[in-house]
Symmetry: C2
Subunit: 222 residues, 2 copies
DNA sequence: CGTCTCCTTGAAAGCGTTCAATTACAGTGG
DNA sequence: CCACTGTAATTGAACGCTTTCAAGGAGACG
């Protein structure tokens, strides 16, 4: 269910965003819909995905507060759904110049994130991917307790694994004291360096490298 | 080796592109370089990639004539290399408004392609990915004979497979008369519907669907 | 004709998927 | 308060696909 909260205080200009309250598990827009709006997450988590003809689902992204999604121009190329209860601000796709510029910045960021995500698939083993994912969520949500909003199934579809493998891998991490679990959703990172070593995503970045204390990799990264 | 061919005929304005001739196997720019230019392919094929600390390589994209790459604003986030001999037109990253608008269009396209590529990883088996890749190259280069410019190793790094698996899979396709081979690089698509069935990438697209005559999938798509 | 690079192919091992069963937990109604 | 129900997560075992290790072949070039 989607609740509209029109912000009628601000003498609404043409380009004023609309605030939306969205219940968890709601479809925000569907693949193929005409792209009249783009969105910014204020609270909660959103996922974008595609459904294959054989019923398989493939997640293309997770969006946390301050992230933008639905930047398509003509038609949405993927479906957007709320992972949790969500608050959104909705912007008309075609607006005046300043807004358009803001949108371009968002687009740039979206492209960068897409590339990061492609890069994530460079991690071959399940341990690689899940570790990288946990670190990514930790950074993007910058929450202390790291409450995972999405299900194991969501993570699996995001990383191209099965929910079983994801579950097994996370259990392994807990067993090896890389993380600790308080219920399935509440993950706390215990050994962040160890987790980075498992992720093994230190690419040779000449300038903006994030250094690691580990020179050898206990887990296979190929 | 890179040869500069300054176009001095056109009373060069500030925003005039420079034409470059680049030999195969040349690094066009490296990850971490300041992003002073973005590029458009006139002829040949370019690959972008990242090198991991452990020596592993991960390809993030292939670029064919009319494709743009290197759209980063501050710093290049990946390395660009020529797969074959290449002709490029090079544009300054910060130029006047009209050019900037053209660049935004390119950015939009780059983002779309990144999403397509993420989607490509939704194909789990090697057969899925390689078939989808061949179809993609066929469409993007729209060449009759389909001369693959890149090596098996390049394809492998692009699809997150080993070059052995790629080679085996392509051989299988030839054996099953989906394609025919005249040497390793020269692929001709024989049974495009069969190939699409193997790729299994028909996602439920309500509006802009590319229909398939196949309702069942002889190859596992999960 | 040797060397180099790239591609192909075989066999065994490793890892994620699949099939199957169990557990945990929130919500609901008796 | 407790059984019932449905959803989500965990775990085990066997299978299958990709990787790994290893060898051989094809073509370009000097």
């Amino acid at each position: 269910m989607i609740t509209l909260c029109t912000s009628n205080n601000c003498e609404s200009t043409q380009t004023a965003p609309t605030i939306l309250m969205v219940e968890r598990g709601t479809t925000i827009y569907s693949e193929g819909d005409t792209a009249n709006f783009w969105y910014e997450v204020s609270a909660g988590t959103v996922r974008t995905c595609r459904y294959l003809a054989n019923g398989q689902r493939h997640l293309t992204g997770f969006y946390y507060p301050e992230d933008a999604f639905g930047l398509d121009l003509e038609v949405y190329r993927e479906t957007a759904e709320s992972v949790s209860d969500v608050v959104l601000s909705r912007h008309p796709t075609r607006a005046d110049r300043d807004i358009a510029h803001a949108r371009d910045g968002m687009l740039e960021k979206a492209w960068e994130q897409a590339r990061e995500r492609i890069f994530l698939f460079g991690h071959k083993t399940a341990a690689n991917r899940v570790a990288a994912f946990i670190l990514e969520v930790g950074e993007r949500t910058h929450a202390s307790g790291l409450e995972l909003p999405m299900s194991r199934s969501d993570i699996a579809d995001y990383l191209n694994l099965t929910l079983h493998t994801v579950s097994r891998t996370i259990s392994d991490f807990a067993r090896k004291d890389l993380i600790s679990l308080n219920g399935p959703q509440n993950i706390r990172i215990v050994d962040i360096d160890g987790l980075r070593a498992v992720a093994g995503d230190q690419h040779e970045a000449p300038n903006y490298s994030y250094a690691s204390s580990h020179t050898d990799f206990p887990w296979p990264t190929v």
